[in-house]
Assembly symmetry: C2
């Protein structure tokens, strides 16, 4: 999209110093320190016993030689890495950066590192990513949702690597599951709109094949409508990334089709903000002429001139809890976290 406005990159070459040679090894450190390799290794990992003086000596040499332990070798020898495989559908939905922050909060203090893969909501790609991550023998996997290919599931099971599935509790998990019911999140939204008296409700969201969680919210919402003898009056299903742009255009098309809607449920706040912008731009009074409801609790929605009614989800917490449980060696379990409907001024 931006490609066209980039000039041809201008290059200016410079000389570059030679590629570095062999790096310092444990053996070299041990020789320089006049100690055995095992002793040096113990000091470096701060594991096992050694005298204060030995420690001193090792540290001094490590510093002087600029020794950097090789974890490839370490992990191979001890059969256990400190890498955690994280597989998410996208980085363009703020949910996932938030999730990663939570995960980092749990991982960093204990020295684990994240290997991140992005699936673009493609389960086959998820399978491929997990397979190649498996080659690094990560300490754990954090993945999103409960929908996976059979092969993904069996690879994970066969590997014996602990796995946390995040963000969704509507279904069967593999090992640890942390999240909340997406159906219920949809249902709560529906109840809110109904309680406010809206009856002609439209829907804007990604097409159903894409995001299973979105589809579950849709179903949860619709189930409540149905209990009340209603259904969505009309809907716009969108392919591609969630964006303000797409949401704005979708609402415009929806309204152009002429149904008399009094509210629209957007599957997330990016779309909803686009919808809200459309209303502001075309002079549609919100919520008196049209109510708007989103999902996620984005910062931008909450501090908009007219705060968006939405469902605030504990993204970072889900990530943090998931990471923590897995590293703590918790037994398989399902952790249900809360979410919260936040009433703004758009409903």
């Amino acid at each position: 999209m931006l490609k066209e406005l980039l000039g041809k990159p201008r290059m200016s070459e410079t000389a570059r110093s030679s590629k570095g040679g062999k790096s310092v090894t444990l053996r070299e450190v041990s020789e320089a320190a006049g100690l055995g390799m095992s002793t040096v290794s113990r000091v470096i990992r701060n594991h096992g016993s050694f005298s204060a003086e030995t420690r001193m000596r090792v540290m001094e040499v490590v510093e002087r030689l600029g020794y950097v332990p090789n974890r490839l070798a370490g992990a191979l020898a001890s059969s256990g890495s400190n890498l955690v495989g994280i597989v998410i559908p996208s980085l363009h939905n703020i949910v996932f950066p938030d999730l990663l922050s939570g995960v980092a909060a749990a991982l960093d203090p204990v020295g684990y590192q994240s290997v991140i893969g992005v699936t673009d909501y493609d389960l086959a790609r998820e399978e491929a990513l997990i397979q190649s991550m498996l080659a690094w023998r990560p300490a754990a996997f954090l993945i999103v949702g409960l929908e996976h290919t059979d092969r993904t599931r069996s690879m994970l099971a066969a590997s014996g690597i602990r796995t946390a599935e995040l963000f969704d509790t509507d279904g069967e998990g593999i090992d640890i599951v942390v999240g909340f019911s997406q159906r219920e999140a949809g249902a709560v939204s529906a109840r809110h709109l109904l309680a406010k008296g809206y009856r002609s409700i439209g829907y804007v969201g990604p097409d159903f094949g894409t995001d299973p969680r979105s589809a579950k919210r849709y179903n949860g919402f619709r189930a409540v409508l149905s209990e009340n003898g209603l259904d969505f009056v009309d809907q716009e299903l969108l392919a591609g990334t969630s964006s303000t742009e797409a949401g704005r255009a979708a609402l415009e098309r929806l309204l152009a089709r002429g149904w008399k809607l009094d509210a629209v449920y957007f599957s997330n706040d990016d779309f909803a903000m686009g919808g809200l912008f459309h209303c502001i731009a075309s002079g549609i009074e919100v919520p008196s002429q049209l109510a708007i409801m989103g999902y996620n609790g984005l910062d931008i929605g909450r501090f908009a001139p007219q705060p968006l009614t939405t469902v605030l989800t504990p993204r970072a917490e889900v990530g943090e809890i998931g990471a923590r449980l897995i590293l703590d060696g918790s037994p398989s379990t399902v952790v249900e976290t809360a979410f919260k409907l936040v009433e703004g001024a758009t409903t």
Copy 2:
């Protein structure tokens, strides 16, 4: 922030199948196939020569035993991993997820994996992250900006690992540099506002210690003001994450101080959207009473009811070019990419 609205997580324990045992090794595959290890290894890496029949036989056994090569061992033996260390300041500024997408576009097709670290704009943390990533002997590093601790610089140099520094060309790079002049981006913004006739300009941005690139834009902007015998009339420097909320509050404070401003330059679109929202909410006419200018070219700004004037930056491209150059073994170089001022309706 969200903690208080989380209930105590509800746990429900379940039995879990035993942790997986030893995984299948190359040797086991070779024995099962009645071939030598080297041969099997060649087939699996598709490297070297072997007959079609051998290939068949190996594949069949691999499939049957569910063999997953151990890259720890592979990388150790061949001294070269396919991991790329990526170190970014934050995930909450859309710039960086965009960057990661670009990087992934270059890395995925060639089977490299990203190990990602987040510094929170802390150079000491950057140093620590790079040091621990070094232990995995990554194939390359992608880092942000030209400001690093001396130790970071010397570790990178000593390691001999190729490094691309992204997003900024105002300064001396270590190896490969891809980006554009942040000073110039600031200067262009200033020229735009001056050309539009604004003279009393305020600034809202992160405090200067935090984000060097932001500070460079500020300086570039100010240099142009100065050439015209002007300076910022007033400014609000913010600690913490860029957010709509912070931008909105900052503009409110700025205006409350009573200077007669006719424009405000925001160091990014998140802040700028907050500013715009404040104006809309308090009935300040934009741009006739107050002009607003941002930076980044966020989707949400471009599709706001009143599109934001901003500077569109080629985030994904910077990442993609950086990753590609590094993997292609390009010599040290500086690649200057374009950015573009996009005039919306807020100036």
